[in-house]
Structures are given as C-alpha cells and as structure tokens.
Symmetry: C2
Subunit: 134 residues, 2 copies
C-alpha cells in the first residue's frame, strides 16, 4: 500500500526531519518502544507493513528485526492532532521488542524515589544478536 | 513523593533539555497523547502525581488540565531502556485528552492512501476553553 506524497507532507517533521513513532502491541495494548522515523522510514513502514525506523545513532534506516528477527508487523498506523507523532499497532514477532531481551523497553518503573527494573530478561542480548553487529 | 536528583540525572535529556512523555490510559490501555517534559516538569509530575509537561510553543510549564479541567492523574511512571522516553499510566479526568475535544489525540488513521479522522469530537474546543486562552 502506498502513501500519497501529500499525506507525507502533512507530517510535521522536526528540524532533523524526524518524528517519534510509538509501537504498541495490538492485542495487549502494551507500549513496546519508541523510536524515530524520517520520511522514507514512514513511507516504507506503510508500503511494507512492518515497522521501519531511522536510527539516529547510525544515521540510517533501521528495519526493526533485521538482525534479531524481532520484526514488528503493522496492524494499524495513526498520527496525532499535531501530526508530529506516529502511533502503530503492531504484532511483535518473537515477543521481544527491546534490545536488552525484554518484552518491551519500558521496564524501569519509578518506585521509592528511583527507577527500578521490573521486567525479566527473556533472552540475553548475546543470544539475540549472536555473531551480529546490532 | 520526591524524586532523587541522581535519578533525574539518569534521564537522557535532548539538546533542548526535554524528553517525550506518553500518557496512556491506565484501564483502557489507549495511548492518549504525547508531549514533552523538562527536568522540572518530570520532577513535578512525580511530586504532584499528575501530568505536568513543558510546552515547547509557549516555553513554559504546562499543567495539563489547568484550563480545561482535563487533568491526568498519575498511576504509574516508567522510562525506557535508553532513559530518553517517559511512559505514564494515567486516569484522564473528563475523558478528553485532546485539545480538539476528542478522547485522545491519535484520531487520524491511515486508510486508503491517506490520513482519515476516525474519532468523534466529544466536546467542542470552544466549549472546553470558553473565555480562556488555551
């Protein structure tokens, strides 16, 4: 499925040409992660029906799951009232969204004055990325 | 409840001293909105147990609901693996998170090549902000 150029123009990209994109698990409702998309990443996400981000650290497209197999299959995609945030409903293949091997990235909860890890590691990063660069 | 200075130092603020903050409705799981927090806003959010953002357009603290009454009562707060995104579980007073008078801000869904409004306006912005500046 293609996205019209005009509809990409509607997005309010920041000064770096990016918008934050939230991946929410479509059945559990859990917020899995937040990463960034540029125009190409958003366009490809819609075309290929899987989450494709733009890695700010590597300054290139990041096809989520390309190394780990933890692909996010797109179920639905929305933007907000200001057209500057993307919200995706996804199916998380492998059940692991976080590079730390946890189900999702929001595993540090504020408790008793500080951030505490409250989610188990399902698979170690070593095991996920064995022999791979990231 | 206070937050330790060290735990505020753990947050990776962007070059403008901000992080994106997601408000998720604690019972429905719906992602209501995304706004930004600076150090003071995050600290006050935890102290006052309600969502307090930093308005980039007005360059000042934004006590969500101060004009509309649509306060977001904090139930839980987390950060992600990179400590650069905040996720809150909130109770949305008035059932309206969006300044357009919709339940939440993500009302534009991608369908048939473009973004379509798919959520009803519950209360008009005029009615929400009558006689007030925003």
């Amino acid at each position: 499925m293609d996205i019209d150029q005009l509809d990409l123009d509607e997005i309010k990209w920041n000064e770096a040409g990016l918008v934050p994109a939230i991946a929410q698990e479509h059945d559990s409702g859990q917020v899995l992660m937040v990463a960034w998309m540029n125009r190409e990443a958003l366009s490809l996400t819609i075309q290929e029906q899987r989450a494709i981000y733009f890695s700010r650290s590597r300054q290139k497209l990041w096809r989520k799951g390309e190394e780990s197999g933890h692909i996010q299959v797109l179920k639905e995609i929305r933007i907000d009232c200001d057209s500057d945030v993307v919200l995706m409903q996804v199916e998380q293949l492998g059940g692991i969204a976080c590079h730390t091997g946890r189900h999702h990235c929001f595993y540090k909860r504020f408790e008793e004055g500080g951030w505490r890890d409250v989610e188990p590691v399902i698979k170690s990063a070593d095991e996920i990325y064995k022999g791979k660069s990231g």
